[in-house]
């Protein structure tokens, strides 16, 4: 079976809902099937990657660490939407993992290349 391009959209912030954590479950499942995966962080989803998250004083699970480990699962393409970053006062230097920034045209062309898109 040839590898298909699958895109996972992260659209919400971490901790307040389960979509980040359960979206990662879906990414890991996709990676075991040896598909060609990309992740795009857009809207509040860019906060999933913010560095300095500190759950030491909390019982909440810092599931966002897994984004940093995705390379070990063969997932290397992580993108953020520049306008989402900018309107939230974020820069790529503030993120915990290396990402490529895409403008809206870049997002459109990323989506155009995909076989399937999953939204979380």
């Amino acid at each position: 079976m040839t590898a298909h391009k699958l895109l996972y959209l992260f659209t919400r912030g971490p901790y307040s809902c389960a979509s980040g954590n359960e979206g990662l479950d879906a990414v890991l499942a996709g990676s075991t099937l040896e598909q060609d995966l990309s992740l795009l962080f857009i809207h509040d989803g860019v906060f999933q990657l913010l560095a300095g998250q500190d759950t030491a004083d909390s019982e909440l699970k810092q599931f966002t660490r897994t984004f940093r480990a995705l390379e070990d699962f063969g997932v290397q393409r992580l993108y953020v939407h520049d306008q989402s970053m900018c309107s939230r006062g974020l820069t790529v230097e503030q993120l915990s993992v290396a990402v490529s920034e895409l403008d809206s045209a870049g997002v459109a062309s990323l989506i155009e290349q995909q076989y399937r898109v999953f939204t979380f």
Binding site: S16, C17, E59, K61
Partner: protein
């Protein structure tokens, strides 16, 4: 002071449960009394004893159960929301001819009048959605 707590957010996919639990711990440590914790809407899922927690995730049902026992706080699930979402005690299971019940022993089921009542007779009501 007596504080009534209302939780509306889902067990796993909302932070409401965690926020409410942290608030309740802080309130009790400050000497306040929680008159009851009422779980409405999607929050009734708290009473489902079948939920299984991943080893590295917080076990909110057990957190609430321990809190309730330690401070003698009733944990009340809204009956109409619970029926719609399949959280039943033995009596409801029998009434609706279901083959199993799944209410966690630390929770009880009651009507929305219980919420109105407790919100009036307490000094405060704090809601988490």
């Amino acid at each position: 002071m007596k504080i009534n707590i209302l939780v509306n957010g889902a067990l796993y996919s909302s932070q409401a449960s965690y926020s409410a639990w942290q608030y309740c711990l802080a309130a009790c440590e400050a000497g306040h009394q929680i008159s009851q914790v009422f779980f409405h809407q999607d929050a009734v899922a708290h009473g489902n004893m079948l939920s299984v927690v991943m080893s590295d995730e917080p076990d909110m049902v057990e957190n609430w159960a321990r809190f309730a026992e330690h401070y003698s706080v009733p944990l009340v699930i809204c009956v109409s929301s619970a029926e719609r979402r399949g959280v039943l005690n033995g009596a409801l299971a029998t009434e609706h001819a279901k083959t199993a019940a799944n209410l966690h022993p630390s929770f009880s089921i009651a009507g929305l009048g219980t919420l109105t009542d407790a919100s009036i007779t307490s000094d405060r009501m704090v809601s988490f959605s």
